[in-house]
C-alpha cells in the first residue's frame, strides 16, 4: 500500500495542514493507486451523504386524508344549498298539509330537517329517527344515493374503518325532491 494512503481521506476532507495538503496533491497527481483510492473514497462519501439524507423529517401522515374532511363537508353543504330552493317551493305546502292531518306533525319544513340531518350525522341515532318520520310520507326508492365514508367526515379513529354514511335523496311522484336521508 502506498505510504501516502493513510492521509488520503483527511486530504479529501481538506483537513490536512497546508504544507501536507500541497505535498499530497503532488503525490496523488502522480500515483495511480492513490487516485483510484481517492475516487473510491469520494464515491462512498457521496453515497453515505445521500443515504443519511434519505430520512423522513416529518412524522408520516397522509395529507390526502385530511383534505377529504373539508372537501366532504363542502360537498354536503353545497348539496343542501342546491336542493334548498326547489324543496322550499314545492314540498313545503304538501308537508304542511300532511302535518295538519297527522298528530305526529312534521311541521318544520323538510329542507330544515334535511339540513339538521346532515349536521347531526355525528349522532348515530339521529338519522334513524328522521328516517322514520320521512318514511311515513315517502316510500319511493332512493333516486340518488351518495355514499360518504365516515373517515371523510370525521378525523381518523372517530369511527371504525369501513363505516360510512349513505345519503338517499328521494323524489316524490310529482318529480319534486322528497327528502334527504343520511344513514350509517
Amino acid at each position: 500500500m502506498c505510504e501516502f494512503s493513510s492521509k488520503l481521506i483527511a486530504w479529501l476532507d481538506h483537513e490536512l495542514p497546508d504544507a501536507d495538503a500541497a505535498a499530497m496533491g503532488h503525490h496523488v497527481a502522480a500515483c495511480l493507486e492513490c487516485r483510484e483510492q481517492a475516487d473510491a473514497f469520494r464515491g462512498v462519501s457521496r453515497a453515505f451523504a445521500v443515504y443519511a439524507r434519505a430520512v423522513p423529517l416529518r412524522a408520516a401522515r397522509s395529507p390526502r386524508r385530511w383534505l377529504l374532511v373539508p372537501a366532504a363537508v363542502a360537498a354536503a353543504v353545497l348539496a343542501v344549498f342546491l336542493l334548498w330552493p326547489r324543496r322550499l317551493s314545492i314540498i313545503q305546502p304538501e308537508v304542511q298539509r300532511r302535518a295538519a292531518a297527522t298528530p305526529t306533525a312534521i311541521s318544520t319544513a323538510v329542507p330544515r330537517k334535511a339540513a339538521v340531518t346532515i349536521a347531526s350525522v355525528r349522532h348515530a341515532r339521529a338519522p334513524k329517527r328522521i328516517q322514520k318520520q320521512v318514511s311515513a310520507w315517502q316510500t319511493a326508492e332512493p333516486t340518488i344515493q351518495v355514499i360518504i365514508p365516515a373517515d371523510a367526515l370525521f378525523p381518523p379513529g372517530a369511527f371504525p374503518e369501513g363505516v360510512g354514511f349513505v345519503a338517499d335523496l328521494r323524489l316524490a311522484a310529482d318529480g319534486s325532491a322528497g327528502g334527504l336521508v343520511v344513514r350509517p
Binding site: 462512498v44 453515497a47 443519511a52 434519505a54 412524522a59
Partner: protein, 179 residues
C-alpha cells in the same frame, strides 16, 4: 488544516431583536440538525422537539452575554446530548436505532433514494451497521458539513480521534460496498 474561517459565529446582537442573522442561522441549521437527530434513531417528532429546545437554549445562551465561537458545533452538541439522554430508554427497544429509520425508508421513494439503487442501498446499510457508534456519528456530522474540529466538539473527542474515526469508517464502507 485548510485554514477555513470558522463558520456560524454569532454575537448577542444577532439575537437582540428580530434579527435576520438569527433567522438565517435557524433556516440553515434546522434541517441538518433534524436529519442528524433522526439518524441517531429519534422519531421525527422527537427530533423536532429537541431541535427546538436546542435553538431556544442557544438563544438564551447568546442573549445572556455568552459570545459563542462556533454556533454550529454548540447547537449540535446540545442536541446530541439531549438525544443521548432520551435514547437511554430507546436503546432497550431498538437494538440498532440508526437502522430503525432506515428500514422505513426502503418503502419511501424520495429523490435521494432514486440516486442509490435498492441493491447499493442495502449494501451500504449493511456496511453502516458494521461501523461503531462513534464512527457512524462522525460520518453523519461530516455528511452535514461539519469540520473534524467541530465534530470533536460535538462528540467530546480530540480532533485527531475524529480524523482516525472518519478514516477507519470510510475505509470500511469502501471495502464493503462498491458505490
Amino acid at each position: 488544516m485548510s485554514g477555513d474561517s470558522v463558520p456560524f459565529t454569532l454575537s448577542a446582537s444577532a439575537f437582540s431583536s428580530d434579527s435576520t442573522e438569527a433567522t438565517k442561522l435557524f433556516e440553515e441549521l434546522r434541517k441538518p440538525l433534524l436529519r442528524y437527530l433522526v439518524c441517531l434513531g429519534l422519531s421525527p417528532d422527537e427530533a423536532q422537539d429537541i431541535a427546538q429546545d436546542a435553538f431556544l437554549s442557544l438563544h438564551r445562551h447568546i442573549t445572556s452575554g455568552n459570545a459563542q465561537e462556533n454556533i454550529r458545533s454548540w447547537l449540535f452538541r446540545v442536541a446530541h446530548n439531549q438525544a443521548r439522554n432520551r435514547q437511554t430508554s430507546y436503546d432497550r427497544r431498538f437494538a440498532t436505532p440508526f437502522d430503525a429509520s432506515r428500514d422505513e425508508m426502503l418503502d419511501h421513494r424520495t429523490p435521494e433514494r432514486e440516486l442509490l439503487n435498492k441493491e447499493k442501498f442495502r449494501q451500504l446499510r449493511t456496511a453502516v451497521r458494521s461501523l461503531t457508534e462513534a464512527e457512524r456519528e462522525c460520518l453523519l456530522l461530516r455528511a452535514e458539513g461539519l469540520r473534524y474540529r467541530e465534530i470533536g466538539e460535538v462528540l467530546g473527542m480530540a480532533t485527531s480521534t475524529v480524523a482516525d474515526s472518519v478514516d477507519r469508517a470510510i475505509r470500511k464502507l469502501a471495502e464493503k460496498c462498491n458505490v
